[in-house]
């Protein structure tokens, strides 16, 4: 009760703390969820259409991988292999857009991209994702130093694909000077996957064969994104913590007289600490909820921002929400308890006199 009254009395200071917590919490939310969104989109691209992925051995990124596409003929003869397709993933300036994703794929994978208009691309043709298509009113586009005819548009649930261009793997091969970035293989029996991996591995010493599940789990780029996101979230958390700690120490300083009076009236140190902690907790949790709503709003808007071409997406998982809630409570704990403890152990008359000064 006293805590709530103190919060409404110190409106400006309460607003300062509320804002610093909201910004810190939003930063953690957005950084974590955008990085998780990026990982989620790419994982989905790889996981949805295959059980096994074949990449070039010793290459950490699919963008630089080069696998011999002719392996597909041998792979499709292996027992329990139901289908396979190859893909080249690259990025290049497209028309006036400085960079966009380019997906070159074998014809048997075109059906993955749901046509909204036109038809699937033939030689020297491309289809455009819904997001990037909004930026081109022409019938031809330049990619690299070549001109391609736009044969149609497609939609996809994956933001990366919505903002990209799909073409024949042969055209993509000439553009990026490679055979295939990876080959994805589907099996008709989950029990046969290990055996199939062994057989494919035996076909070429220059390839690395993994289940798509394991590939996603071990993919270095995801680890880099996750680690970077963790570091940036931690920095946002630390900045939030320092912000709260400094604002709280300002508040404790400006309220020394009040705490001194309370101590003079016989209120214990614990009473003061509890009240300050409760004040910060109320602000932190309300700032958390406010930041959650704002972040959800921003994350919902991100895929529709034309400039981002749908590449920046975010997913807010329960795991992230709980992690941020825990971080927020930690910020409140450390930010308020230390100055409160210092104030509470000072002689009451000194607090009163310092408060008057």
């Amino acid at each position: 009760m006293i805590s709530l009254k103190a919060l409404t009395k110190n409106r400006f200071k309460s607003l300062l703390i509320f804002s610093s917590i909201t910004i810190a919490v939003m930063a953690i939310f957005l950084i974590s969820s955008v990085s998780q969104g990026i990982i989620g989109m790419y994982s989905k691209m790889i996981k949805t259409d295959g059980d096994i992925i074949i990449t070039q051995k010793g290459i950490s990124d699919t963008f630089f991988s080069n696998v011999d596409i002719s392996l597909m003929d041998k792979i499709e003869k292996i027992e329990h292999v139901s289908s396979s397709y190859a893909m080249i993933v690259g990025a290049s300036p497209i028309g006036h857009i400085p960079i966009a994703g380019i997906y070159g794929t074998t014809a048997n994978h075109f059906s993955h991209y749901k046509l909204s208009s036109g038809e699937y691309p033939k030689k020297s043709e491309v289809i455009l994702g819904t997001n990037i298509a909004k930026q081109f009113a022409t019938s031809n586009i330049n990619i690299g130093n070549r001109e391609f005819k736009i044969s149609g548009t497609y939609s996809s649930e994956i933001g990366f694909e919505e903002g990209g261009v799909v073409m024949n793997i042969e055209d993509a091969g000439k553009l990026f000077n490679r055979s295939a970035s990876f080959i994805l293989v589907s099996c008709d029996s989950p029990n046969a996957i290990d055996e199939i991996i062994k057989k494919i591995s035996a076909l070429d010493s220059e390839i690395e064969v993994k289940t798509t599940q394991n590939f996603v789990k071990e993919y270095n780029q995801f680890k880099i994104i996750e680690n970077s996101s963790f570091v940036i979230s931690f920095l946002a958390f630390a900045m939030g913590l320092m912000g709260i700690a400094s604002v709280m120490s300002m508040i404790v300083n400006s309220r020394k007289e009040e705490f001194g009076i309370m101590r003079a009236l016989g209120k214990s140190r614990l009473f003061i600490i509890k009240n300050l902690f409760f004040e910060t907790l109320v602000m932190s949790v309300s700032a958390y909820l406010f930041a959650l709503v704002l972040s959800l709003g921003i994350l919902a808007l991100l895929p529709h921002v034309e400039m981002l071409q749908g590449y920046v997406n975010g997913s807010l998982s329960l795991h992230i929400s709980l992690y941020v809630l825990f971080s927020t409570i930690l910020m409140a704990l450390f930010g308020s308890l230390i100055p409160a403890w210092i104030a509470s152990k000072t002689d009451p008359i000194l607090l009163i006199n310092q408060g008057c000064a």
Binding site: K9, A264, G266, R269, D347
Partner: protein, 207 residues
């Protein structure tokens, strides 16, 4: 009620009280007088347990301050304060300010005490909504709520006009008549009319 033995106090290297010893009996109205810088406020803070003395021993109601395990409860149950600038908490109403100081079993007396001090109608008002004299009466009500054995007042009329000063002294005198020990530190020599014991301080020593 209070026994002071060889108390000295330093702020850093500066000594402000020199080896003071005296006793205050129960029900006394003690006037601590002295010029600014004489050490009376420091002595009052030490007597009221708000400040630990650098040296010496203080006994209150037979208990050594050093040996009291729960000084907060001791202060709340046995000591009442009236400060010069009332020191009410601005975001609490008059009633809540008194409730903050009140022991659990004394809360039902808040309205009665406010009535006795003639400020019952201010109960729901906030400190910034009442006059200086009314605030100081609220501060006295807060000091009286737990029926303490001792009331300490530091310049209780320092910010009041003579009419309100007389009211506040009257209230403190009534408390003393009921058996409460009252210790007042002040410049105001008018208190001599109410005091039953006077200690004059100069440069941290009793004259």
């Amino acid at each position: 009620m209070i026994k002071v033995s060889n108390i000295s106090h330093f702020y850093g290297v500066e000594q402000v009280l020199y080896d003071l010893s005296f006793e205050i009996k129960s029900g006394e109205f003690l006037f601590l007088s002295g010029e600014s810088g004489s050490g009376k406020s420091t002595l009052l803070s030490i007597l009221s347990t708000l400040l630990k003395p650098s040296k010496g021993e203080l006994l209150i109601d037979g208990e050594s301050i050093e040996e009291i395990s729960n000084i907060d409860y001791f202060r709340q149950s046995k000591i009442g304060f009236v400060f010069q600038f009332h020191y009410l908490i601005n975001y609490l109403s008059v009633y809540e300010n008194i409730a903050l100081a009140a022991l659990e079993n004394k809360r039902q007396n808040i309205n009665k005490v406010l009535g006795e001090l003639g400020i019952a109608d201010l109960s729901s008002r906030y400190p910034n909504e009442i006059s200086g004299g009314q605030r100081q009466r609220v501060a006295v009500a807060r000091a009286l709520i737990n029926e303490p054995k001792i009331i300490f007042a530091d310049e209780p009329t320092g910010s009041l006009d003579s009419k309100n000063s007389t009211i506040v002294y009257g209230l403190l005198q009534n408390a003393a008549k009921k058996g409460t020990t009252v210790v007042v530190a002040s410049h105001d020599m008018q208190i001599e009319n109410y005091a039953t014991q006077i200690i004059r301080l100069k440069d941290g020593q009793i004259l």
